[in-house]
Structures are given as C-alpha cells and as structure tokens.
C-alpha cells in the first residue's frame, strides 16, 4: 500500500479541531462566564475544574496533545498555501485566508494565555481565582489582546466547523454548504458573546 499518512493526519487534524478542542473551547468559555454571577461563583467553578479527578491526564490527553498536533500540522498547512485573494476575491477564498491568519493569531494567543495562567498557577507563582484574571484584564493592552485572541479563536472554530462538514463529506450540495455557513455564523456570534461578556466583566464590571 502506498503512503496514506497525509490523508490520516489531515483527517485527524480536522477531527481534533472539533473533538476535543472545539468542545473544550466552548466549555472553557462557558465556565468562565460564571464571573458574571459574581466572584464566588467563578472561584467555585474554576476550582471545581482545577480539581477534577486525574486532572493532569485530562489536560494532557484532551487539551495539550490535541492542540499541539493541531498547531504543528496547522502551521505547515498555513505555509503550504499561496494565497490569492487579490486575484480571486471570493467569499470562501477570504475565509480560507482568514482561517490561516486566525490560526496563527490563535496559536500566539493560546501560548501566551497558557503561560500566564496555567503555567504560573502550576509554578505556584499565582493563585487560581478571579483576582488573577482581573489583574490581567484590567490592563488595557492585555484586554485588547484578549479581545482579538477570543474573536480569532472563535472564528477559527466556527469556520473550522464548516470545513469539517465539507472535508468529511457531510455537506455535499452547494445548498447544504450554504446552510452550514449560516450555522457557523450563528456559532461565531453566540460563542464570541460568551467569551467577550466574560472579559468585559473582569475588566470593567467586577
């Protein structure tokens, strides 16, 4: 049998983006939204998540390894393309370019975000509570960095759901692909709202 590895890696890349990474992202933003109901609600939820049984194993196999694989192959995919929206400025070609741009922004954002939260908590430098995020998000530069990071991450997920449906051959007809586009717009708006509402709470309202 000839090399089928690339096919396997690309399909795995597509799958991991949705399960578990996409599911984790939505869960993460929803849990963080507890801050809207007060510091106590947030701290309780954050500590519940941080003290799940086998939490390190869950983190490694559900979050770190899938994201690492998705990121490494993703960067390769970004540099493989020769973008041509100037010549062929169609909607899907723009989405193709934006998917690659947001992928890179998201990678930088996640690296920074994990470094200043999870790694610092792990090293014992900071304590995991609402004060940690408040300290970060009340700095205007970091607040806007988080706004861009969240929008970019959610866009990458929403548009990735579309390509997932096409790449696995779920949506074949132009009509079904169109409907999936509408669906992903709704996903983008709803999930972005959840994420932005949370950081606005941390920055201005808490």
């Amino acid at each position: 049998m000839k090399e089928h590895r690339e096919f396997f890696y690309r399909r795995l890349h597509s799958l991991l983006g949705v399960v578990p990474i996409g599911i984790f992202l939505v869960q993460h933003l929803v849990v963080n939204h507890f801050i809207v109901y007060g510091r106590e609600s947030f701290d309780k939820a954050a500590n519940f998540m941080a003290n799940l049984p086998f939490v390190l194993m869950l983190e490694i196999f559900v979050i770190y390894l899938p994201i690492l694989f998705h990121a490494v192959l993703g960067v390769y995919i970004v540099f493989e393309a020769k973008n041509n929206v100037r010549r062929y400025g169609y909607f899907r070609n723009w989405m193709f370019l934006l998917q690659r741009i947001t992928g890179i922004i998201t990678l930088i954002f996640i690296a920074w975000h994990v470094w200043e939260t999870r790694v610092q908590v792990g090293l014992g430098n900071v304590e995991l509570n609402s004060g940690l995020m408040e300290g970060i998000l009340t700095q205007p530069f970091l607040f806007w960095f988080y706004v861009i990071g969240i929008l970019s991450t959610v866009f990458h997920l929403a548009n990735g759901l579309w390509s997932f449906c096409v790449s696995w051959g779920i949506a074949q007809t132009p009509r079904s692909q169109q409907i999936v586009t509408y669906f992903t717009v709704i996903v983008f708006i709803v999930v972005s709202y959840i994420g932005l509402r949370t950081i606005i709470e941390f920055a201005y309202l808490i």
């Binding site: 000839k2 690339e6 540099f79 393309a81 041509n84 062929y88 169609y90 070609n93 096409v166 692909q177």
Partner: protein, 259 residues
C-alpha cells in the same frame, strides 16, 4: 465612410508576459493591434503574429500560444487574462478592460511565452485511473445500464477538458505542495458513477487517498468559481471526501464491499 476611418484607427493594447525559453527570465512587452468588431484574445494574438511589431515599433519574434478548437471545449488555450485564468478563445476583447494583460498560467512550467506544459495533469489522469476498462480477451457483452438521472449529472462532470484553470486558481496547488488539484478530484467521481467504471471504484479512491491527494484540499472553492465549463467541482470534492472517508475505513477495518 467617416465611421469606417474611425474604426480603422481604433486599437487594442495588449501587455503580454513573455518568456523566450523554459529557463530564461520572463519580461513584459506591449503591443498595439488594430481593433475589429467581436475580437477575442486569440484573434488579437493572431494580429501580433501577422505583424510582430511591439508598441515601441521594434520588430520582435511573434508571441507563441497554444490553441486548438476555438470553441471552449479543448482546454488548450488557457492563460491568465487581466488577472484571471480563463480560455483565451472565449475571452472577448469588448468585455475586457484595456490594456489587456496576458500572462501564462503560473502553476505550470512555461515552455515559451504563453505556452505552458500541462503534462502533470496527464500524469495525474493516469494516477487516478481516469478511464473505464472495458477490454477483455473476448467480447464481454453490453455493460449494465445507467439511470438517466445519474447520467445527467455525470454528463456535467464529463465536460472537464483538463484546461488547468482550476489548478491555477487554487491556492493549494503550487510548488510548495504536491496537491493533485480540483479537476483530478472530480474525474474519479465521473468514472465511479459509471456502472462499469464502478467496478474499479476503490482503485480510484485509493489513488485519492495517497499523499498529494484529496486531503490537501483546503476548501477555498476558487475552482468552482473559475471553471469555464461550470462543473460543480466543490460538490464533487465533497462527494469524494465522503467516498474516501468510507474507503479508508473499509481499507483499515476490512470490507467485502471494498471492490
């Protein structure tokens, strides 16, 4: 009479990206050719061939290009006209902004001027087994019949003339990638739809599973926008995505239906 004189002085300006040999550097050259009613890009190039003098008045070697059918069915005369890959036979001068910029397709190696070498597509046609084997050592008799509805959509796919325009517009077909390209993902669907061709279905799907195959598609969907024949390329790609997924599962887990 006055109108005629006016028409005679009207010209068409062409800025052509030329290249003297496969290894030499490309350069731009401007030509002014007399305008005629209903000209297409090919007839403008023929004017240059008749009188190969550039806009500076220098006599140069005539611009070389490829053509055959002149009715948008052979696929030979593809070039990039005003930034968009298309057939030059069906590119009408009246519908183009002037000066008309003409370049060879950049995805393929340039042979000379506007002539490119599309033989990678021919190699890939062999790779995906773009044919239906019907020969035996004896008369095999008539094949199974094809449902009319299926024939109708399959006919649309059969219009592919391997012109290379979809490869040119695809951001994932380039020298950094070994992606086979949109046209070659649609043709296996055509041959697999045929009741006799379906007997070799898995061979074509397995070719798409190989490196540089269907997995390299990034869904920019430029192909379906630029296809001169209006082939539903992205529908075909999604259909082949589904078929290759199923084929990959059959390959790994085993199936008696993986013929």
């Amino acid at each position: 009479m006055v109108v005629e004189t006016k028409e005679k002085t009207k010209t068409v300006t062409l800025i052509i990206t030329r290249q003297d040999s496969p290894d030499s550097a490309p350069y731009e050259e401007t030509f002014e050719v007399p305008y005629r009613k209903n000209m297409n890009v090919i007839s403008a190039l023929m004017e240059i061939q008749k009188n190969p003098v550039n806009a500076d008045g220098e006599k140069v070697s005539p611009v070389q290009w490829e053509m055959a059918c002149l009715e948008e069915v052979c696929g030979a005369c593809s070039m990039v006209i005003n930034g968009r890959a298309q057939q030059s036979c069906s590119a009408l001068v009246d519908e183009l902004e002037q000066p008309i910029r003409i370049e060879p397709m950049s995805t393929f190696p340039v042979v000379r001027d506007l002539i490119v070498d599309r033989s990678r597509m021919f190699e890939d046609l062999k790779r995906i087994k773009a044919w239906i084997p019907i020969d035996g050592t004896h008369d095999l008799g008539p094949g199974p019949r094809m449902p009319e509805k299926k024939r109708q959509w399959a006919y649309e796919l059969s219009k592919c003339m391997t012109c290379g325009v979809c490869l040119e517009a695809c951001p994932n077909v380039n020298d950094k990638s070994d992606f086979i390209g949109p046209a070659l993902l649609s043709l296996p669907r055509l041959y697999n739809a045929h009741p006799t061709g379906a007997m070799n279905k898995s061979e074509r799907l397995n070719a798409l599973l190989e490196d540089g195959g269907i997995a390299e598609c990034g869904n920019s969907q430029n192909c379906v926008q630029v296809c001169p024949k209006g082939i539903p390329l992205t529908t075909s790609i999604a259909a082949m995505n589904r078929a290759t997924t199923i084929q990959a599962f059959k390959n790994f887990f085993g199936s008696d239906n993986a013929h």
